[in-house]
Symmetry: C2
Subunit: 216 residues, 2 copies
């Protein structure tokens, strides 16, 4: 477990603060699908992703979903420390979207560090500002970008995350990412197929014209 | 100008930090409609509202608007310090919605304080978490709440902010708050009139059944 590599401000902390982290942080392998955080879960602590992919999303009362952002290697999940921040009423769910490895600085240690280390608080504040910016961007997309453009952008992003033009993903799952109904996704994917941007087979979407999707 | 009254953490700062604020902060009267901050404006600094009402909103490329939140007395506007935070790419516009009075801690002073005062950084982080929570709430509303419910909630909120059941507001302006088209607002207001929740006259909306709107 190499904390300094994945937690850039580690080197800026005092030896005492570093020791506190060294003595309490632990690495954890997380299977795809595992719940990392929601409003009812225990407060894990500061979670640093060293491998894999987490998904942060919101759920409506009747179970609909929309993806807020993804956390990849080197990203920091701040929501799992939200119990230490009384102003943070975000009600976000975080799950492992792929098999992942994370380093966790336990919540009580994080709280202790945040009371004394201005470096850490400033860093956490930058991370929050980043998440905030992501959600602002999403709000704009939802308000003012038509669904076909959002779907095209999603397929391009997925292709980038999977490093492949063959996406094994159901229409239902795409609908959950984009906060819409499965039928809406299916209809638009068929349109993209007719335009020869993609090819649909059972459970798979083959992107055959990535540049067209990118510029859609 | 009483900073301590409107800036709760002032009393927790060191005498030196307090002096820095005393020597640089200034009060400013702002006329209704004045632009306080957007992405092109100079970076004002930490803005504390001592009287009046500011509106934070986003604008689309083609000029449509949606209100993110309002800032009232005792609220802090963090966006006007966003130049000091590189991760904050929010592109938010802030205008005075009523004649207002603010206390400003200039950006360079704020930056200086934020480098040394963990109290201030922690406080600013709490304010940001609050704004973040507001925007998360808005995202939920837009995704999963029907427009009639959002309009009813908006009329109730306006009535609260104006301390009156007579609202002098155009349909166009409501559309800008809620991120929709004027026609959509007009149609729904007429429906509310038919249901005898409100009464429409030129430029005015009279709320005649506030409890019904609240529980809508």
């Amino acid at each position: 477990m190499n904390i300094a590599e994945h937690f850039p401000i580690y080197n800026e902390l005092t030896p005492e603060e570093q020791r506190l982290i060294d003595n309490s942080a632990f690495s954890r392998d997380i299977k795809k699908g595992t719940l990392i955080h929601n409003d009812n879960s225990e407060c894990l602590g500061l979670t640093i992703i060293t491998d894999g992919q987490l998904r942060a999303y919101k759920t409506s009362e009747d179970g609909r979903e929309i993806t807020l952002f993804r956390l990849l290697e080197y990203d920091i999940c701040l929501f799992s420390t939200s119990c230490t921040m009384q102003s943070f009423r975000a009600d976000v769910t975080i799950v492992a979207e792929k098999d992942s490895t994370v380093i966790v600085i336990p919540a009580h240690v994080y709280e202790q560090l945040a009371a004394t280390s201005i470096k850490l608080v400033t860093y956490a504040s930058e991370v929050m500002a980043n998440h905030f910016s992501d959600v602002m961007w999403l709000l704009e997309q939802i308000m003012w970008k038509s669904f076909d453009k959002r779907l095209a952008a999603f397929l391009v992003e997925e292709s980038y995350l999977e490093n492949s033009t063959t996406l094994k993903i159901t229409h239902e799952l795409i609908a959950n990412h984009l906060g819409t109904a499965r039928e809406v996704v299916t209809r638009m994917l068929k349109y993209f197929q007719n335009e020869e941007y993609i090819n649909l087979t059972r459970g798979t979407i083959d992107i055959i014209d990535l540049p067209k999707l990118k510029n859609y």
